[in-house]
Each structure stands twice: as C-alpha cells, then as structure tokens.
C-alpha cells in the first residue's frame, strides 16, 4: 500500500466482496494521508422483487378483508400503511453504506447512512481505543467474523470496558475484514509508536 506520489490526488480504490449471506458488497478505500484513512462499505440495494412481493401481500390481505367487511376504508388504510411502512423502512432500517474513518492521534469515526439520506455518526477518541480486532461469533447456525474496537477501562489499565462492533448491517466476510484490519493496525501501530515518544 504505497503512499501517494507528489502532485497525485488521494489514492482511492474499490473492490467487491460478499457478505455472510452472499450479497455483493463494494469496499471503497480512500487514502488521504499516512495518518488518515477512510473505508466505505456499500450494502446491497433494496431489490424491486422483494418490494413488489411485500406490497402485493399487503394489498391482497387488505382486499381479502375488504371482501369480508365491505368497508372501503380498509383499502385506503392499506395504501397508507404501505406508503408509511416504506418511508419508515427507508428512513430507519435500510442502511445504504457504512463508513469507517480513522485519523491518527484523533480517533475513529463510524457513520451509517440510511437509504433516505439520514446519517448517524459515532466518534471514539483515540485515547479510549485499546485495539481493533477481528472476533468470532456464533450467529444462529453460522460462525461469523466481525471487526470490533476494544475500549479502554478508565479504572483498570489492562481491562476492557466495552466492545464496539463495526459494519453491523453490512456484515462482510473475513477477506474484506482482513483488508480493513491491516490498514487499521498500521495506523494504530504508528500512533502507539509516536505517542510513547512525543
């Protein structure tokens, strides 16, 4: 991973991986400087097939109720419910892409962007970060790997107060995680080296 040459723009590259269910993910890596790196993982988009299937189910059920009750309010209610449900899903549930920004000696920032454009950001200061690791977990019938940040315990110097998992909705596989892990470890190692010798 060579740094940028003189006069070149920040290095960017994009690779495609897959998540634990087999969907396609795109990992977009932006290298701003030796101390600043950004990873953007794009989740698979909402598919037209599933949207049509859900809408048809809801409307068929509403039509069935309508034939039972002879009340046309049910049909309008079904339309409202479908619209509101879709808006709510896009705004609160469906995550479009997740971004990880690591800035040496400042901290790590995770952003989740929803399909409606809403962004939710969390920033963890470098002083609180103990390490970034890949951990295993049992998820239903699978064993999956996930990347997580370990936070320092203010009371105990060698303890861990919290584990913050990353890329929770994208759920990439191990090959993608290794890419991100290597770059994070480079920056963390550099940060630890310079913080001991100020």
């Amino acid at each position: 991973m060579a740094g940028p040459g003189a006069g070149e723009p920040a290095m960017e590259d994009e690779r495609s991986f897959s998540d634990i269910c087999g969907g396609r993910l795109a990992l977009h890596r932006r290298y701003y400087s030796p101390s600043c790196l950004e990873f953007c993982l794009s989740c698979p988009r909402i598919s037209l097939r599933s949207l049509t299937a859900v809408t048809c189910t809801v409307w068929l059920a509403a039509y069935g109720l309508f034939t039972l009750c002879e009340n046309s309010m049910i049909l309008s209610a079904a339309i409202f419910i479908t619209l509101l449900g879709l808006l709510g899903y896009l705004h609160f549930v469906k995550i479009d892409h997740e971004t990880l920004l690591i800035i040496d000696s400042l901290g790590i920032q995770m952003t989740s962007s929803y399909a409606s454009g809403k962004e939710s950001t969390t920033f963890i200061e470098m002083g609180k970060v103990k390490d970034v690791i890949i951990n295993e977990a049992i998820y239903m019938q699978k064993v999956i790997y996930y990347l997580c940040i370990l936070l320092k315990d203010p009371v105990e110097p060698h303890g861990i107060s919290q584990v913050v998992p990353l890329f929770q909705s994208a759920k990439p596989r191990l090959d993608c995680l290794i890419e991100v892990y290597r770059s994070c470890q480079e920056i963390l190692a550099h940060q630890k080296a310079t913080s001991t010798n100020p």
Partner: protein, 632 residues
C-alpha cells in the same frame, strides 16, 4: 504525534496577524481562539493575554503566526513573521498560511531542539481542524466531563480529549468581549468581532425577571405558610388530604414554582435546564387548563357532565313519576330468583318501585342500573352455572341494599352536583394536571361502593380460602405449626375429623358462589383502577416531560451535544490534512432521559406474578402506589 491545530472558521478570511490560543501538550493540540492583527505593540498584546488568563483561568498565549496573502509570497513579510517567533517564544511555533482566494493552506510547526537560540529546528506534521466557534462556545457535552477543581493560581484546566477544546472555548468568553468597534489597543478577529450578539427581548426579560420573581416568591411563601398551618394537621382533614391526589399534585406544582422563582442563581447548566423545563411545564399546563375551561363553559357542558355522573335523571322529585305497574306477588326463598324477590325485601320494597325498568329514561343506561342488572344476573344462573340458592340470595340482596343506600345518598346530593362541578371546573385554570387529578378523585369517590363491594367480596373469599386450606390439612391429618412455620402431622380425635370434614365439604361446595362474586367485583375494581391509573399516567407525563430541552434540541441542536463528527475536506497531496469538526447532537431519547423532571412517580407497585398471587388468595390489592401515600 501529529500536531492538531483547531482553527475557527470565522478567522479563515481574516488578515494576517498573530494566532492567540491555548496549547494542550497532552494531546499535542493547539486551540486557536483569535487572531491579533497588525499593527500591534507586543507589550500590549502580552498585557491583554495576562488579563484574559487571570479572568478565565485558561492558559492563553501567542501560538504562532497567520498569513493570508496573495499569490506571490513577499519575502520581507516572511522574515518579519519568523522574527516574531523570537519575540513571543512558544514551543512549538505554528505558522499557518493561506493563499487569498484559493483553498490551499500550508502549515508549519517548528520546535527548537536545544536551549540555544540558533539550535536546529525540527518540524512536526500538522493537521488542521476547523470548528465553528459560536456553536462550540454555546454547546454542552453530554455526559459532562468531570473537571478538576479550579485551584487558586492554577492557570490551566485539563480535561480529556475533545472536552478540553470545548472547555477552552467556553471559558475564554472574556477574550470575545471586544469587537472591532471598540477603541482598544489590540485589534482581534473572533466570532463576535463583527459585533456583539444580544437580543433586546432577552435583555428586557432579564430586567423584568428580578422584581417579578420576587413578587411571586412572596406570594408562594404566603401560600405555603397558609397550607402548613395547624388547622390542616388535625386528624380528619389530614386523612382526607393524604387520600386525595389533587393535594399531591398541587403540592408538587407549588414546589416546582418555588424552584423557578427562587432568588438563587442556577449553579450549573443542569440546574438551569431544570428551572427552564419546570417553567415551560407549568406554563403549558396552565394554557391547556384554560383551554379546557373555555371548552367546558361552552354549550352547557356542566349540565351534561352532571347528568352523566349522577344517575338520577329520571328519579329526581322534579319530574312527574309515570304510572308504575304493581310489583308481583312475593315468592318464598329457595326458588328461582327474579325481580319479585327484591320486592319481598321489606325495607327496600317501596323504593324499588321507583327503579322499575318501565319508567322512561333519558339518555343511555346509567352505571348503577348496570350494576343492579349485573347483580340480578348473578343471582340467576350466570353463564349457565348453577349457584347455591341460599348463599346467592343472601349475598345478592346484601349488595343490592348497599346500592340502594348509595343511590339514596346521591339522590340527596343531586341538586348540588352541577354547582359543585362548576366550581371545581374553575380550578382548571390552575392547570390541566389539577383538573385531571380532580377527575381522578371524583371517579374514586363515585365508585366508592364498588371499592366496598370489592373489599367485602375479597375478605369473604380470603376467609374461605384460608378455612379451606386449614381444613384440607386436617383432612389429610396435618397441621400448620406456627412456631416452626411449617406443616406437621397431627393426630386428631374422631369427632374433630368428622366435624372438620363436614365443614370442609360445606365450604368447598359454597366456593363457586363466593368465587364468582369475588371475580366479578375484582374485575370491576380493576377496571376502575385501570382508568384511574391511565389518568395518573397522563398527569405524570405532563409533569415530567422536559419540554424546554426538547424544544432546544429541535431548534438549536448544537446546544446539546453527544459528541463530535469529522468530515475530511478537499485534500491535495503535499498539503496538510484539513478536517471540519461538527457537533453531533444528542438523540431525543437521551434528552428525555437526561432532563426528565422528578414527578410524583406513579408506577405499578407489584410485578405481574405477585399481583396474580394476591388475586388468587384474595388479598387486597392497591396496584398504583404514590410516593408513600395510599390511593383510594
């Protein structure tokens, strides 16, 4: 470590000058607070900085130079700026430079490696972080970083990480007091240099608040002194006050108002928010109460309310009673129960004629009539179950007589109900919560007979259950040992066993009847309790919702900060990294959780398991517990 320079966005277009701010060595970050422009006299600059340092306890110093220049660099300016480094010695010495009209910045931070002035200098890598000074000044981080005590003579204040930046900017407001229209010796650029921010309304409100608060505080102290006087401590009155939820609510509101108008200044931002929330809550409450009052006074609502609450619309003496059919011939006990058996009761015979279903009714069925129908249904064959006739009749008539007594009392009060309601309705101007508390108290007063029925039914059932369990033990040849709190075997005499078994059989065959009455009245009681509980929940919601904080979060989200977020700005190779620091506002749920006002605390006392257990054994339940008071 990479050197972080926090630069205010308002200074990005300022003319060249000196950078003034605070250096935090632990995080290797320089927080730039303002830019001092040429021409200046170094002694005056140092004086100003010493003044600011003394007033704000923040270690303000000259951090470096700022150069905002045209495309061609001027050699003389460059040497001049480097010379300033020897004048205001600071380690490390920052040199920020920006070309006019473009986005390219350059930063240099030099450190001297030795004590001699000509020792070789080493350069650090610099990262520029832009921040909005006004927003950072006004915002408040949650959770608040624990700050060490400000010791005398200690010019530094240390806090972890980014909280140090917020703290520095917030405490240096002394530096931002002068704007460019002031005739001071030093010309500064900061967020307020274009002119001090102020609002006429806010200033007027501040002036007026003093005397108004004083007046209100006097009034409130009078009211609380009056309520604390000896007369109200006497036994019957104190018992009544403790039972009514209106008094609790009024007391709570009085406490809140006393807090708001108290003469002490708020100690910290949390206290200030609490006062503001309490004030907004009281104002909203009064506004809603006045709305309710105006709605009630329209279209003769009080008469309708009176009719709904008191079921004597057709039994009152003003209305001519219609011709009533004669009551049927009374039949002896033991046969099928019907309306006729009611007439057989000598005391109530004459009175029951008034309540004959043939009489015309205004409006829908009233509550008491429903209760009577329910009891008559129970005395028949409810849900197809066959009850024990004798016990059924006794219990049914006992309860029906109670209802009759209750109706007679209400009958006495009926002419005054409308006036009482009208006067109580006036109390709605004290607030919607007070009106709702009064409603809850009226409900509990009017359903007092249901409470009595519940207590009778529960006690009877409880006695029966205890008797049954004790006799069941006897049936098996065991006994409850009170000393050891356990079941022991015991040898009974034959006559004891005989009588015990007989009683056991009697009790167990009478169990369905008692159980059914208990079930019905418990359900009624639970219904009333649920309605009251809902009213109390609503009152609690109005009392404890922090509306000012929610409004602040909606309109000025930067005031309540959960943290920060960074955005990488356009980056060119060879130039320093530029980031924009923005404030991440607190989510609404956290706002409510942090700034919730303490309220009367109406929450269920029992868990579901213990509630079911108490219901099964017939123990009396009081599901909603107020703060130490029993709710009737």
């Amino acid at each position: 470590m990479v050197l972080k320079a926090f630069f205010p966005t308002c200074c990005a277009s300022a003319d060249s000058g000196l950078l003034v701010g605070r250096w935090v060595p632990e995080q290797s970050s320089a927080v730039v607070l303002a830019v001092v422009h040429f021409p200046f006299i170094p002694v005056q600059v140092k004086e100003l900085l010493a003044q600011v340092q003394q007033a704000s306890r923040v270690g303000v110093a000259v951090l470096g130079t700022w150069c905002h220049r045209r495309q061609e660099p001027e050699e003389s300016l460059g040497h001049f700026l480097e010379g300033l480094g020897t004048l205001f010695s600071h380690e490390p010495w920052l040199q920020l430079c920006r070309e006019r009209g473009s986005k390219s910045w350059s930063c240099k931070a030099t450190r001297r490696q030795g004590p001699a002035p000509l020792a070789p200098a080493c350069e650090d890598q610099v990262m520029l972080i832009f921040y909005d000074q006004r927003k950072v000044l006004l915002s408040q981080l949650h959770p608040p970083a624990a700050l060490p005590e400000r010791q005398a003579g200690d010019a530094t204040a240390s806090a972890g990480g980014l909280a140090a930046v917020f703290d520095t900017v917030a405490r240096s407001d002394v530096l931002f007091q002068s704007d460019r229209f002031d005739e001071g010796p030093v010309r500064l650029t900061h967020w307020q240099s274009e002119g001090m921010e102020a609002s006429i309304l806010v200033e007027l409100a501040k002036r007026a608040a003093g005397p108004v608060c004083l007046l209100l505080a006097c009034l409130l102290s009078l009211v609380s002194a009056a309520s604390a006087c000896r007369v109200f401590r006497l036994w019957p009155l104190s018992f009544i006050w403790s039972k009514l939820s209106t008094c609790e609510q009024l007391r709570h509101r009085l406490d809140q108002l006393t807090l708001v108008v108290s003469a002490h200044r708020a100690e910290g931002p949390a206290q200030l928010m609490r006062k503001a929330n309490a004030l907004v809550s009281v104002l909203l409450d009064m506004a809603l109460g006045l709305l309710l009052l105006s709605w009630l006074h329209r279209k003769d609502r009080f008469a309708q309310l009176a009719e709904a609450l008191v079921p004597v619309a057709d039994g009152s003496p003003q209305h001519p009673s219609p011709p009533l059919p004669t009551p049927p011939h009374p039949r002896p006990l033991g046969l099928a129960a019907s309306h006729s058996d009611l007439a057989a009761c000598p005391v109530t015979g004459g009175h029951w004629a008034c309540w004959w279903p043939g009489a015309p009714r205004r409006g829908s069925q009233t509550g008491h009539r429903e209760l009577q129908h329910l009891l008559q249904w129970l005395m028949g064959a409810p849900a197809g179950l066959k009850m024990n006739r004798a016990l059924d009749q006794v219990l049914g008539r006992f309860f029906l007589y109670h209802i009759h007594l209750w109706i007679s009392y209400i009958h006495l009060m009926s002419p005054f109900i409308e006036h009482i309601l009208w006067h109580l309705g006036l109390s709605a101007c004290l607030g919607l919560t007070v009106a709702l508390s009064i409603l809850s108290d009226i409900i509990s007063l009017l359903t007092f007979h249901i409470y009595c029925f519940y207590v009778y039914g529960a006690r009877l059932y409880c006695l029966k259950i205890h008797g049954l369990s004790s006799l069941w033990r006897l049936f098996r040849g065991k006994k409850w040992n009170v000393l050891r709190q356990r079941v022991d075997s015991c040898s009974y005499d034959l006559d004891q066993l005989f009588i015990g078994t007989l009683l056991f059989t009697i009790l167990i065959f009478l169990l369905p009847t008692t159980a059914l009455y208990y079930l019905v009245f418990t359900l009624l009681r639970l219904l009333v309790v649920t309605v009251q509980g809902l009213v109390h929940l609503l009152v609690d919601l109005i009392n404890s919702l922090p509306l000012y904080s929610l409004g602040l979060r909606l309109c000025r989200p930067y005031r309540l900060a959960a943290g920060v977020k960074f955005r990488v700005l356009e980056h060119e190779a060879g130039r320093p990294l530029r980031l924009l620091m923005q404030i991440n506002p607190l989510p609404f749920s956290h706002v409510v959780r942090t700034y919730r006002l303490p309220s009367c605390g109406c929450h269920p006392k029992h868990s579901w398991g213990s509630l079911c257990r108490k219901l099964f054994f017939g123990e009396l339940i009081y599901p909603w517990r107020q703060r130490g008071d029993k709710q009737d």
